[in-house]
């Protein structure tokens, strides 16, 4: 790729940073060129975020129909599955699965609630009061 063809499509870098792209200059020599982004990358990155949002939507539906606890929403929002969440919370997966149900969630003590809240970077209050669509 030539230096002047390095794309500058604003997108995932969000104005925060620019990325290094290797390209050849007018003398055929490789140089590092800063790029704000490239549309194909924006497309595939968006797709990945759509999939995350879908998990969040599924969690919200389950919470509304009383099948899941708020933990399911925050788990999805933090791009976690049960395995990763159990790694962070340092509990076996079967226990985490219980906490994903409203019944198991209601039995959590203050320390356990604090541990979950800390991982999701929210307060215990936010965890307890979470309702979909508010």
């Amino acid at each position: 790729m030539e230096k002047d063809k390095v794309p500058q499509d604003e997108g995932i870098t969000g104005g925060v940073s620019r990325e290094v792209q290797y390209a050849i200059d007018e003398n055929g020599k490789y140089v590092k060129v800063m790029s704000t982004g490239w549309e194909p990358k924006n497309i595939v990155n968006d797709l990945a975020w759509e999939d995350i949002q879908e998990q969040v939507d599924i969690a919200n539906e389950k919470i509304e129909s009383g099948k899941a606890s708020a933990i399911m929403y925050f788990m999805a929002k933090n791009q976690m599955d049960i395995t990763l969440l159990s790694n962070y919370i340092e509990l076996p997966k079967w226990k985490v699965k219980r906490h994903l149900k409203p019944k198991g969630f209601s039995k959590l003590n203050q320390t356990q609630l604090e541990n979950y809240a800390k991982i999701f970077e929210i307060s215990v209050d936010e965890l307890l009061k979470y309702k979909p669509n508010n």
Partner: protein, 334 residues
């Protein structure tokens, strides 16, 4: 205390950190040179390794390998430490080394990296950055994939050093402790090239090197049939992300390798490396074309098999090009 450390933006974090650490100690080797010597170029399709539930197609060897191989071939001694479940010790040890005026490379998880653009923040744990100072609760950070130097608080740094999941860093940190006065760059370049050529041409498993590209091409053709439109698009999108998203310098490291070959031409005093660099640029351009076409196919998640066939055909063409390329390159080091 803030060390006089030069922040050098790079295409790829692992090479970028090593390159700038060595630069601090007076050894000027570019990211591309480290990448070539450390045999960073690769292709692997590993259906048994899943990322977000999707089989992994990778354009580089496992994290840490480029770094280990480059150090070994250059005769540089690195101190490496991990601190499983000992965050406090990991931070104390980091402070101790910084107090000796040494910048330190660390492995980090990306998800909690507060200075990253939000769109970058996934659970990926094999990121690398340099810590080059500390004042009160603030650490000075040189992250090669960022345009400018940045900072993290002590708590933030601890968090990213102890992220969980696949490839979790466990507080890993590293820094050079012995750099030889004389470095045999020619020999290191030859070793790097030999290994990459071998990997690309002769691994007797169809998942690696040019055979891997051909194998994945065959599988990819069937994705819309086998997986349905939605999953197929997710699979293809992930491939494009492996090729282009932060850390490859574009086209799955192919352009960084072309830059390495240009530098090799002057070190080896052999213009044939320049010719091959041009060939590698063409290969990189084809991979970029792949990304562009694949992204269009993913967009709207169409199951139209034509889009998949087009990119699968392009992969076969690239596999032939890469096979020819490494056959030629290997001749140069004989």
């Amino acid at each position: 205390m803030k060390l006089d450390f030069e922040h050098i933006p790079a295409g790829h974090c692992e090479n970028g950190v090593i390159s700038s650490l060595l630069n601090y100690h007076g050894l000027k080797l570019s990211e591309a040179m480290i990448f070539g010597i450390g045999s960073g170029y690769f292709f692997a399709y590993m259906p048994f390794v899943k990322v977000n539930g999707i089989p992994l197609a990778s354009f580089r060897p496992v994290p840490g390998m480029i770094f280990a191989k480059a150090a070994k071939r250059l005769g540089i001694e690195m101190k490496k430490q991990s601190f499983r479940k000992q965050p406090k010790r990991a931070m104390d040890e980091l402070d101790k080394v910084l107090d000796k005026n040494l910048p330190v490379g660390i492995q980090a998880g990306v998800f909690h990296l507060s200075y990253f653009p939000p769109a970058y923040r996934f659970h990926f744990n094999a990121h690398n950055l340099t810590v080059y100072g500390k004042e009160d609760d603030t650490y000075f950070i040189s992250d090669p994939v960022m345009e400018y130097p940045t900072t993290l608080t002590s708590d933030e740094l601890k968090k990213v050093r102890f992220s969980k999941g696949a490839l979790s860093p466990n507080g890993k940190m590293y820094y050079p402790i012995n750099i030889p006065e004389e470095i045999d760059l020619k020999s290191a370049i030859r070793k790097g090239i030999k290994q990459t050529s071998d990997w690309m041409l002769t691994i007797p498993v169809p998942l690696f090197g040019v055979k891997g590209i051909r194998y994945l091409s065959k599988r990819l053709r069937n994705w819309p049939n086998k997986l349905g439109a939605k999953r197929a698009a997710a699979y293809l999108a992930q491939m494009v992300r492996m090729l282009e998203e932060i850390g490859t310098g574009g086209a799955g490291f192919r352009f960084i390798y072309a830059a390495f070959l240009q530098e090799a031409a002057s070190v080896m005093e052999d213009d044939r490396y320049n010719e091959l660099s041009k060939e590698m640029t063409k290969i990189g351009d084809k991979w970029r074309n792949f990304s562009s076409l694949a992204a269009q196919t993913c967009k709207g998640r169409s199951a139209d098999p034509d889009g998949y066939n087009t990119v699968a055909n392009l992969m076969l063409e690239i596999a032939d090009d890469e096979e020819k390329f490494f056959t030629e390159l290997r001749k140069l080091i004989k």
